[in-house]
């Protein structure tokens, strides 16, 4: 069920109504039923996968919880008679046992994800590398359950947090099932932490007019971004990507700009709807964006874009890999062999490359996604190496580098660089992408763009709507930096409701629903 379908709006209205009418102790049960009903709309056959994840996570977490309680009880009983070293050894041995239990859960769940998502990609590459031709292995047509990347990552985060003692073990399997399947965030995140979300899901919520109003306003805002901006830009994107070799040079630059607008409006719009739905239910989800296009560097951009995915990879991949025993040994060895300066970079850089490789792979089973991840990594590592030069430059020209103009220059530079790398998403084929990037230098057709831009399926009015929409989004985003616009307007109800009415009418009148138009999937649904 698409967020942009009438069915979803009706479903949402029913859930809101029932949620605040049923006795409060039934609320979480109602949310669980709603989440599974929402999931069933994607097909009954997908249920088995989310059930396997839920039940395995339940069993694994309980087993780790039991082992940890046993360890603490033993230490409490024998603390006096145990030396410090003996305590350390005992703790280490017990931790190893718990790690084995955790590993079983991770292998099972990431294994299911890997088989369903990447088998086709592996088989395709094997056929291609070994030139099997007609004798090649058949590419299996496997089912990819809705939201599997998101709910698997969220649930595995829970297991790792239980192992680390950062969250409580859920003793009721139905409650854990709700944490895994909470419907607003099931298809495109944000990827929540159990310690942040779980208690909110199970706590009874009374109807709060302010929270509910804010939630509905945020949902409207999400629909505005998605239907008025993203889906309108999508029409031009489809033309540009239908036969990409026809649209070279300046059109590639245009595509980079349009895709940046589309993915921002689509993904942040979807997250606005998600967070808005949760807010209307009295549940606060973690924000996934923090004005990413105002970032001055790639590192900053990745702290502000898809935040929950970034922190997931940092906490559960980058740090553990960087500080694991083999890496520490490698660090010592490389310092001895390569010198302190180069040697100390080895573990950090290896872990960074691995993290970005996996981040690319998470986005999709394709070389374009892997190259996308590795290019981001390359830019981050080069920036890291250039930092002393930047620092010297900043020290030499303090007035220039602290000026408004220099800040904007840095933000535009980051926006363009990220846009360029992001276009690997669009062309899907790495060779084509590189060729078309090159055409921006070799094919000088900027003069054609003036007329050609209107042959992409959008007329002047459409472009004006996109431009105006982007302007409104930029103003709201800028105003929200200190305090959200909804809060600013809450004490001025007439203005607030007038603006909501205008927003609603804008979505109805200017949403991209022309003849033959089909409300599209959110881009991140496919990840």
């Amino acid at each position: 069920m698409l967020f942009t379908s009438y069915g979803f709006i009706a479903f949402l209205a029913l859930v809101f109504l029932a949620y605040y009418l049923v006795p409060k102790r039934w609320q979480w049960g109602l949310l669980l039923a709603a989440s599974y009903a929402f999931y069933c709309f994607a097909g009954w056959e997908c249920l088995i996968f989310i059930l396997v994840t839920t039940l395995s996570a339940y069993g694994i977490a309980r087993a780790m919880g039991y082992a940890a309680a046993k360890e603490e009880a033993y230490l409490a009983l024998h603390r006096e008679e145990m030396e410090k070293d003996a305590r350390k050894k005992y703790r280490a041995a017990e931790k190893k046992k718990r790690f084995r239990i955790l590993l079983a859960g991770l292998v099972l769940n990431f294994g299911v994800l890997a088989v369903l998502k990447y088998t086709g990609f592996v088989v395709f590459n094997l056929n291609s590398w070994f030139s099997f031709g007609e004798n090649g292995l058949a590419i299996p047509d496997l089912l990819l359950p809705m939201g599997i990347s998101f709910y698997t990552f969220q649930t595995m985060g829970y297991l790792i947090d239980v192992y680390r003692g950062k969250t409580t073990v859920e003793k009721n399997p139905a409650r854990l099932a709700l944490f895994v399947s909470f419907f607003p965030q099931l298809v495109q995140g944000p990827i929540s932490r159990h310690s942040d979300l779980a208690s909110q899901l199970y706590t009874p919520h009374s109807f709060d007019r302010r929270g509910f109003t804010f939630g509905v306003q945020r949902i409207l805002w999400g629909y505005f971004k998605k239907l008025v901006i993203a889906d309108r830009v999508l029409i031009a994107m489809r033309t540009l990507l239908d036969e990409p070799e026809q649209y070279r040079g300046a059109y590639v630059a245009l595509l980079i700009l349009l895709y940046s607008i589309q993915i921002y409006a689509d993904f942040t719009g979807g997250i606005d709807i998600t967070i808005g739905v949760a807010e209307a239910l009295g549940i606060r989800l973690t924000e996934n964006f923090e004005r990413p296009f105002s970032s001055r560097s790639t590192k900053e951009y990745w702290r502000r874009w898809h935040i929950t995915m970034g922190t997931w990879f940092t906490d559960y991949v980058f740090y553990p890999v960087s500080v694991c025993k083999p890496m520490m040994k490698l660090s010592k060895w490389s310092r001895k062999t390569l010198g302190n300066n180069v040697g100390k970079r080895v573990p950090v850089y290896l872990a960074t490359v691995l993290t970005w490789f996996l981040t690319g792979l998470w986005h999709g089973a394709g070389w374009n996604f892997i190259v996308w991840g590795l290019l981001n990594c390359l830019v981050i590592l080069i920036s890291q190496e250039l930092e002393p030069i930047y620092a010297r430059f900043h020290g030499r020209f303090p007035r220039l580098t602290s000026s408004w103009g220099y800040g904007k220059f840095m933000a535009i530079r980051t926006f363009l660089l990220m846009g360029l790398i992001r276009s690997l998403d669009c062309y899907r084929d790495v060779g084509t992408t590189f060729r078309l990037w090159g055409s921006m230098v070799t094919t000088w057709n900027w003069g054609e763009l003036g007329e050609g831009i209107f042959s992409l399926g959008l007329n002047a009015v459409d472009f004006l709507i996109v431009l105006g929409g982007c302007g409104v989004v930029a103003i709201v985003s800028s105003l929200s930096a200190k305090r959200s616009v909804r809060e600013r307007l809450y004490d001025r109800p007439v203005l607030s409701w007038t603006l909501c009415g205008v927003l609603f009418l804008t979505i109805l009148l200017l949403g991209a629903y022309g003849i033959g138009y089909d409300a599209s999937q959110f881009i991140y649904n496919q990840f």
Binding site: R91, G165, E300, Y319, V323, M328, K332, K344, R345, P347
Partner: protein, 75 residues
């Protein structure tokens, strides 16, 4: 504490680590800095900082970091 401050200053000579209290929250230390720091501390203090202890609260100030090192040494 001096040894820790020396390691920190080596990483960012322009920061006054003795007084700074929001090193991670203010973006002074990023993930790459933190891993470099952990590697240095593991070597200098003979403790092992596990991944689960790499949270902003433990790295926001030199004092918090020192408290973590002492806790790990005690355990």
């Amino acid at each position: 504490m001096e040894r820790l401050l020396a390691i920190l200053s080596d990483l960012h000579p322009d920061v006054d680590f003795a007084t700074a209290e929001d090193l991670v929250d203010d973006g002074i230390l990023d993930s790459l800095d933190i891993v470099t720091l952990v590697t240095e501390i593991n070597g200098e203090f003979d403790v092992t900082i596990p991944a689960e202890e790499i949270v902003p609260e433990n790295f926001n100030s030199a004092a918090a970091l020192m408290a973590l090192i002492e806790k790990l040494d005690e355990e």
